[in-house]
């Protein structure tokens, strides 16, 4: 539980950070809150020779509203996100999710950008970003670009980030009118990753579901957007029968591994249960 030796850097600007990452292409790793990376380093599963700490870069911090969308700076901590009243009013699902991540100590250090960029299927924020159709703002030595969250995840710890790129911010579109969203997570204890979890958002028109998105945490090598499950609900009256069908469709795409949370069949079924519960909560919040 003791990491291998490394050199520590603390740049103050994004270009400096990118330069450092570029200078040690094989060896350098960005570090934000460190609460995924440092445990890996202690187990020596990660042995970066250079750590580039993003914590002193002012441009990566802060939460702001911009043209109807909400922009979260990459190094915004979960605790800062939880404390932001404006965000909680418009997108309460973010706060609801952040509160289910680990414990207060971890949330005080862990960042939204790190949670999203890490690529661990156990992280809770990716499914929410898929569900809300967030866009990641990315900077590299070649310049800046954007990547939709829905195009970002490729597999376990594999993302669309190129070597030397970092996430600078996450842009979340404002939710549609008469929408409700929820994140429901099954875990064994505080500080545990999900046995299964689901994010759901839906909006209602005339008592029927007009728009819907559903995403799953930790039941596949990466967070999954449950497209068929959501598509099946368009035009449906919210209720147990419709949600059960969506749950079944979500279970069909889940591909969990057996681990300490339980065998694969159980975890798949839990994905379904979480979808049902997330949809029920979202519908209630949407005023259905």
């Amino acid at each position: 539980m003791i990491p291998a030796a490394f050199t520590y850097h603390r740049p103050r600007t994004v270009p400096d950070a990118l330069a450092l990452l570029g200078a040690h292409p094989e060896e350098a790793r960005a570090i934000a809150g460190g609460h995924s990376l440092i445990p890996m380093m202690k187990l020596r599963l990660a042995t970066p020779g250079h750590l580039v700490d993003l914590g002193a870069i002012a441009a990566l911090k802060g939460i702001r509203e911009e043209g109807g969308a909400w922009v979260l700076g990459a190094t915004t901590t979960q605790a800062e996100l939880i404390a932001h009243a404006g965000l909680a009013r418009v997108l309460p699902i973010l706060r609801e999710t952040a509160l289910q991540i680990a414990d207060p100590q971890v949330r005080a250090r862990g960042t939204v950008g790190g949670n999203v960029a890490n690529g661990d299927p156990g992280n809770d924020m990716p499914a929410v970003m898929l569900c809300l159709d967030a866009v990641l703002e990315v900077a590299g030595r070649g310049g800046a670009r954007t990547i939709r969250a829905r195009a970002f995840y490729r597999g376990a710890f594999a993302t669309a980030l190129a070597a030397g790129e970092i996430v600078t911010a996450i842009r979340i579109p404002a939710p549609p009118a008469k929408a409700g969203a929820a994140y429901v997570k099954l875990k064994r204890k505080t500080g545990d990753y999900a046995t299964a979890a689901a994010a759901a958002m839906l909006s209602l028109e005339g008592g029927r579901i007009a728009r819907c998105a559903i995403a799953l945490t930790n039941v596949a090598p990466m967070a999954l957007l449950a497209e068929a499950a959501a598509a099946g609900l368009i035009g449906a009256v919210p209720g147990a029968a419709a949600f059960a069908a969506a749950a079944a469709a979500a279970e069909a795409i889940a591909d969990p591994a057996a681990d300490g949370h339980g065998p694969a069949d159980y975890r798949r079924r839990m994905a379904g249960v979480m979808v049902r519960r997330a949809l029920a909560a979202a519908a209630e919040r949407a005023g259905g």
Binding site: M1, A5, L186, K189, T190, M270, V273
Partner: protein, 806 residues
């Protein structure tokens, strides 16, 4: 300090003696981060040790190459079995009569086994160098399932003893067999089963778990070459035993070994035994001439440092149709891992498992225990229980429920019908114990009334109907548990550790001003000894507890004792404390009589001093007597006021209790939520009710963890699954249920103050209460026994097996 005007009650209150909810004085330093733990110790020139460990569960070692590790700058030494052999320290004796490899030389027998000990100038370098040790292995088939240990074709694990047919506890039938232990009357029990109107039989497994104290095991060893003296600071629950064993093993004279156990951050049985890390730190200090620190990390602690339980118990009860038990038979298959390193009194290879008749009046019983080797870490320690008492209590409490279920009797009712009655104490159990005192019916009735048991059963029946009508997916379980413990090991007639009788001791010295220092042979790991022993002294001697300093853990200053585990401190050292106080009081009475110019038979002790019988206004406070002890003793009496007591208990003590648990189970997820938990404990005289409640809260939380999720599990290759707190279930305050505590008081008739010990009761009684609640929730659907741990997926699977997850 018998101040004018003070009422008797005010004088009593000033003492903060027995029965007072005195705040824990050790918490003043603990809550400010000022505790003094092993890892806080920094000595000049101190080196750090770290292990290279085996990735395999069973493999032959072909070659160990330490060249690269030695070449790293800052590495001072790398020890392997080859270096320990000339010192005869490559193997060490275990408390259970077996031997354990300190460093593996020829074979590794479990994943995480110690192979090389790297010593470097800082702990980071030591970790780097440990990684550089190269070992060439030939993999051998692991033996993971204990039920396969004695199969004819099972791989032979312990080649060192494969031809030894006589083990430490009798005949061995197979190279992987350790012992068979048999108690009770086989014939009479068979007869009871032949004549039985009904009987039940069930395999009840208690999974492998781990005590996981927050502070892991650690030591700093410092050998002084000039004086030939060895000092070891370490996480030792039994420092004197460590010193004696150290002297025998190393040849260093016992008076030149100084064992110091500073503050300990939880022990739970994990810190009773001797581990390779301690031995290697000592050898490394002798070799390098420098102090050497070894601190294991969490993964090492969970992987290689003693586990607990792993008992597979087949229980059978014979009974009448009316639900009166007529016989008990239990066979246990005990998985001991690669070495038998159980920490039991030496003559008890299965601890006090023969307490398995529990609180019930079984006319006959018969128990056999087979200990076997597997490719797993050694251990089998008493995790917050007196030697295998938790296993026994779980076994009988599950089995009684299974019998009740078969007879369609209420679990509380079947217990009431079979309890040992108050007038039967002292009670001789069919398996050989003499229960000192008890009043089970009263305790059980009080518990049932406190929770409104009948109303709960009515509610449960309504919920079951709703469930059947598909109106709810929630089930309600009510867990009943009534336990009897056996603690306070123990009387020299049947308890010793490596030949040393299991007495305990107190040395008490009253200073001229009436302040007191008291030293004990026990060692607190969080139990609050500094607070509670002082309260006993306060009541016995009439000196306020605040004027008493209690010291433990330094073998140079503390009287010889056997340490703290098995709830033994109150039954043994607290008894010694009272006995030493009474010697002091007898002398103090002579001095008081002298000061009062009367015969000593004419004075009597009264709260905080002595008074002339019938003339209460003529008195001397204990404080005045203490002063006089140093300048005005009666002729013929030596000055000074102190005493030592080595207390050999005449019997064990038998705490008991009634626990009730109400659970709501979400069948869709398998999540079981504890709605209510009521714990009634009878631990005899209550020294400090607040500390008792704290012990009960802590023990119940551990019991909850064990029943609802803890497991040290291996895959089929013998790889340990999830050895960190990410997976190993340690509940936080968020998951921990609310605990309701209650009590009755049935003093121990043979203990000087009537106290029985309480630290482990909640773990012993708690586990069956949770497990019975889960089982009770599904019993109406036909389930007889669901194995622990009851984590959500297993509960869900149990429901699936009953057809509830369509």
């Amino acid at each position: 300090m018998n101040e004018i005007g003070d009422t008797r009650a005010a004088r009593e209150e000033k003492l903060q003696g027995i029965g007072c909810r005195r705040k824990r004085i050790e918490d003043i330093r603990f809550t400010q981060g000022k505790g003094n733990y092993v890892d806080d110790l920094k000595l000049p020139g101190m080196l750090f040790g770290d292990f290279h460990r085996s990735p395999y569960a069973h493999a032959r070692i072909r070659r160990i190459d330490t060249t690269k590790a030695r070449a790293l700058a800052g590495v001072v030494a790398v020890l392997t079995a080859t270096d320990l052999k000339p010192l005869k320290l490559d193997w060490m004796p275990t408390l259970a009569g077996d031997v354990q490899a300190v460093l593996a030389g020829e074979k590794v027998l479990f994943q995480g086994q110690e192979i090389a000990f790297v010593v470097a100038t800082d702990r980071y370098l030591a970790a780097d160098a440990a990684d550089l040790v190269e070992v060439e292995y030939e993999e051998l088939p692991p033996l993971v399932d204990p039920f396969r240990s004695m199969a004819p074709d099972a791989p032979i694990l312990r080649e060192d003893i494969k031809d030894t047919t006589e083990g430490a506890h009798g005949k061995r039938r197979h190279p992987n067999h350790i012992f068979t232990w048999e108690v009770g009357d086989r014939e009479a029990t068979e007869q009871a089963f032949r004549a039985a109107e009904v009987s039940v039989k069930q395999l009840i497994s208690y999974q492998r778990v781990h005590p996981s104290p927050l502070e892991t095991c650690q030591a700093v060893a410092s050998f002084d070459k000039i004086e030939g003296e060895l000092t070891v600071w370490g996480t030792f629950q039994a420092p004197h035993v460590v010193r004696t064993v150290g002297a025998i093993l190393s040849g260093i004279p016992e008076h030149k070994i100084h064992i110091i156990a500073p503050d300990i951050g939880g022990g739970f049985g994990n810190k009773v035994g001797v581990y390779p890390g301690y031995v290697c730190a000592i050898v490394a200090s002798i070799v390098t001439g420098k102090p050497v620190k070894w601190v294991e990390d969490r993964i090492e602690n969970l992987t290689a440092t003693a586990f607990a339980r792993d008992y597979h118990m087949t229980a059978e009860i014979a009974a009448t149709r009316a639900g009166k038990v007529t016989g008990l038979r239990v066979h246990v298959l005990a998985d001991h891992g690669a070495f038998d390193a159980c920490a039991d009194p030496s003559k008890w290879p299965a601890g006090f498992f023969n307490i398995v008749t529990g609180s019930y009046d079984f006319p006959v019983a018969h128990v056999t225990v087979d200990g076997v080797y597997t490719s797993k870490a050694p251990g089998g320690v008493a995790y917050r229980c007196s030697f295998r008492v938790t296993e026994a209590a779980y076994c009988i409490e599950r089995a009684m429920d299974i019998l009740a279920h078969k007879l369609r009797l209420d679990p509380a009712e079947i217990r009431m019908r079979n309890f040992i009655r108050r007038e039967q104490f002292p009670y001789h159990s069919a398996l050989g114990w003499e229960y000192d005192s008890g009043d089970y019916h009263t305790a059980m009735k009080k518990a049932l009334e406190a929770v409104g048991y009948q109303a709960l059963r009515t509610e449960q029946r309504e919920k079951q109907e709703q469930f059947r009508r598909r109106e709810t997916r929630e089930l309600m379980g009510i867990g009943v548990s009534f336990f009897t413990e056996i603690v306070g090991a123990g009387p020299s007639k049947n308890c010793d550790i490596l030949g040393i009788a299991m007495f305990d001791s107190a040395e008490i010295r009253v200073h001229p001003t009436g302040a007191i220092i008291a030293r004990m042979g026990t060692k607190s790991q969080g139990q609050g000894h500094e607070t509670t022993y002082a309260q006993i002294i306060a009541s016995e001697l009439g000196i306020p507890a605040d004027n008493v300093m209690v010291e433990e853990g330094n073998t140079d200053t503390a009287p010889y004792g056997l340490g703290t585990y098995g709830s033994r401190s109150t039954p043994t050292a607290a008894a010694a404390t009272a006995a030493a106080c009474r010697k002091i009081r007898a002398k103090a009475q002579m001095i008081a009589a002298h000061l009062l110019e009367v015969h000593h038979d004419d004075v009597e002790f009264d709260i905080d001093g002595f008074r002339v019988k019938g003339m209460p206004e003529r008195s001397k406070s204990m404080k005045e007597v203490a002063w006089a002890a140093y300048n005005a003793v009666p002729p013929g009496l030596e000055p000074g006021l102190e005493a030592v007591s080595y207390y050999d208990p005449p019997n064990m003590t038998y705490p008991f209790g009634a626990y009730l648990c109400v659970m709501d189970i979400d069948v869709d997820t398998g999540v079981a939520k504890v709605r209510r938990f009521y714990a009634l404990d009878d631990c005899g005289t209550r020294i400090n009710p607040m500390i008792i409640e704290g012990q009960v809260h802590g023990g119940l939380t551990e019991a909850f963890a064990i029943a609802m999720g803890q497991e040290i599990a291996y895959d089929e290759m013998g790889n340990l699954k999830g050895p960190s707190f990410m997976d190993f279930f340690l509940p936080t305050a968020v998951e921990t249920p609310h605990w309701e505590t209650d009590y009755t008081v049935t003093p121990s008739p043979h203990h000087p103050i009537g106290a029985k010990g309480v630290g482990e009761s909640p773990n012993v009684g708690g586990v069956p209460a949770f497990s019975n609640a889960v089982n009770d929730a599904f019993a109406f659907l036909g389930a007889t026994h669901i194995q622990m741990p009851h984590d959500p997926w297993r509960v869900w699977k149990a429901a699936e097996a009953l057809g509830l997850q369509k």
